[in-house]
Symmetry: C2
């Protein structure tokens, strides 16, 4: 019997007629969304943290998170958290991974889905600083609440990989930026040093940087040109990547 195509109904199967009765008997767990919000400032990659409001973790930093509501899409929950905490709505957001270890939360089983977000620190002044909300340099995190260190590590790895195959990084920069800023960003995220000339050639050859005609100011050296990212050009020219390499 070949199953390459749909077959007729199977015989003698005990069918479940009430889907809601079935689901009603499932064990249930609490689910939260945690937002790993990256920013870039002073040539350092930063992440948005608050002080945990759990007493046992009160000397530790924590990610921005909240429970997901019964009828709320998780992505909406992530946007809600972002909006509540930073006042921003139109930001990059992507699901990265789910963390489900039984013992990850001291209050019982809590599953969390990590969403990653990248935004420009200057353009998104924090309107609320409750719970000591602040940008924290990724290189000096110290002890973190829950498994948030692990979550950040995963998201950072994700970012390192993703930024090399997708033009995410521009979300971390002002709309108009110099090539130096762009390079600093890549160097900070990938933790490498890159050759300035080759870096320029690379990005110019990809042909989605648009010369704004403007220049840096307030720098105490020769000002660099400011560029902006041309999304339309990127979409048109982006290559589909095939290359076995490991």
């Amino acid at each position: 019997m070949s199953y390459d195509h749909k077959t007729a109904l199977a015989p003698n199967m005990p069918l479940i007629t009430s889907a809601s009765e079935l689901v009603g008997n499932y064990p249930k767990m609490a689910i939260t969304v945690d937002c790993v919000i990256f920013g870039f400032e002073d040539n350092k990659l930063k992440v948005l943290l608050i002080r945990s409001d759990l007493q046992m973790y009160n000397d530790k930093w924590s990610l921005l998170g909240d429970v997901t509501l019964a009828n709320e899409e998780f992505e909406d929950a992530a946007y809600r958290i972002l909006k509540t905490r930073t006042g921003m709505t139109d930001v990059y957001l992507e699901q990265v991974r789910t963390f489900s270890q039984v013992a990850r939360h001291p209050g019982g089983r809590v599953i969390t889905v990590a969403y990653c977000s990248l935004l420009n620190i200057r353009h998104h002044q924090l309107k609320i600083t409750d719970n000591e909300l602040h940008w924290h340099s990724l290189s000096s995190l110290g002890d973190m609440a829950f498994d948030h260190q692990q979550i950040i590590d995963r998201c950072y790895n994700w970012l390192q990989k993703r930024i090399q195959e997708h033009p995410l990084g521009f979300n971390l920069l002002p709309e108009k930026f110099s090539l130096r800023e762009l390079q600093n960003l890549y160097e900070a995220i990938l933790n490498v040093e890159l050759d300035r000339r080759n870096f320029r050639k690379k990005f110019f050859s990809m042909d989605f940087l648009e010369d704004t005609g403007e220049f840096e100011f307030d720098v105490k050296h020769r000002p660099g040109k400011l560029y902006q990212f041309n999304f339309a050009k990127y979409e048109k020219n982006k290559r589909k990547w095939i290359g076995i390499d490991f």
Copy 2:
């Protein structure tokens, strides 16, 4: 005030002393694990499916899934499902993504975490064929239950990408395989045609294929050499990939 290092306790915060009381008040949801188990046979990529036992989906195929138990790690749940359904324990397994749309399950809110698994069809004869468990060619899925089409699509995309940067594919092949089989695998998964000579050069240059001294048999042409994957060599030589390209 600089937050690059841990600060002292914050003043006047309403601290939560009982973590379990907090979690007790969270809304709870049902969570399942769905396994997307890829196999390779007759030069086709296949996926392991059963007939849905929900009446409303009974003319549709479904992934192997089950609820996660209150004190069960999700990965263990995935292994449990694999073991129960295929009899296998020592297989490749990786979390891919969580699917949480409010309306994805007709019986109420059910979150599912997709785990991807790759295994060799010949080495894992299906011991149980309840619910018409069978390998289904990925190219002829037809209508699927729930959002399982979407889950499979995601996992397939994940596989396509992952196989190019990590030697996953060997999990789909017998321990000893010919280069032709390896190439067929890559061609099937990536849906491209590759030059045989360049493919060989590429893999030999990566230097983790070990000549077993054995040959194919039962073929009606010149038998090819059989190779095996040398994990130790791979681990030693694997390159850390840096290359901005999009």
